[in-house]
Amino acid sequence: MKSAVFDRLQALRSAATPVALLTNLRSGQQLIVTATGSEGDLCLDVDMIHAAQEAIRTDESTSFETPAGRIFVHVFAPPPRLVIVGAVHIAEPLARMGALAGYGVTIVDPRRAFAGSQGFRDVTVSGDWPDEALEALVPDMRTAIVTLTHDPKLDDPALDTALKSPAFYIGALGSRKTHAARLGRLAALGHEQTALSRIHGPVGLDIGALSPAEIALSIMAQITAVRRGGATRA
């Protein structure tokens, strides 16, 4: 790989720009492709540039045959994101597990005493109100959102905003009774039943979790199952 190609790839990645590196596996020649253009010494038909851009869109590395050799399309997407609302005791192990699983983690809690009292390493902490924080984060199809506060003043605006986003996972901590009441309030805000069914609540897989770390594990397992299409999607 030429240094210029590598440096360009790193610059695009650090700017969180989805990018594909195309390599002719016979010659080693390469081309960098983004949603808006391409650069490099590998010459390809415009159809193949478009195929690479489709691979970027679906976040799936692939390869295709050409008369000049097989082309490997290596997609580098920004890390998926995990937004945790509530800097409560479960948030710390969940943030750490999320980071280990490759997520960019943000904890949202406007209650300064909470956000400041925990040792959150390698995590972005936002002190904004949850709906404002989520709107600013612009959740996409690679974002998971979990509310942990138990407090309707904080959880409800977060879930209201989450339901208006394409987030692939929405989870809310709370008992069945708490969750039923929560769904009633969200329905009153105008959310349809099909939208409300996107919320995983009570949150997490039923593994009998008791401690904060175990509950975080059950949540992270559920997020993984939803993202990867695992058999257990409860």
Binding site: M1, K2, S3, F6, L9, Q10, R13, T23, L25, R26, G28, S61, T62, S63, F72, H74, V75, F76, P79, L100, G102
Partner: protein, 113 residues
Amino acid sequence: MSESLSETTPHDILATAAAWRGAGRGVALATVVTTWGSSPRPVGSQLVVDDTGRFAGSVSGGCIEGAVIREAVDAIATGRPRLLDFGVTNEQAWEVGLACGGKVQVFVERLGS
């Protein structure tokens, strides 16, 4: 500990490669480009290797790393990229195989060719 953990994610492999290059070391990248069957690491998984054979990341979970590292050190010396085939059905080409029965193709290239 935290360094070795962070080096296992694909996004940090390239950062490791950049740091090693910046330190004046010869560097090669190995990338899983094709898998068949139950291969242990998905397409796009990467290994970074320096000119002394030090490495970070993984392309198989341990089965073929030794052979990939040898090829990578040679690629750093010669600048010649190469496509390697591994699999239990390809024993004549390689003395190492994937115990799980999968097959994998790994592309090896020098950084700064």
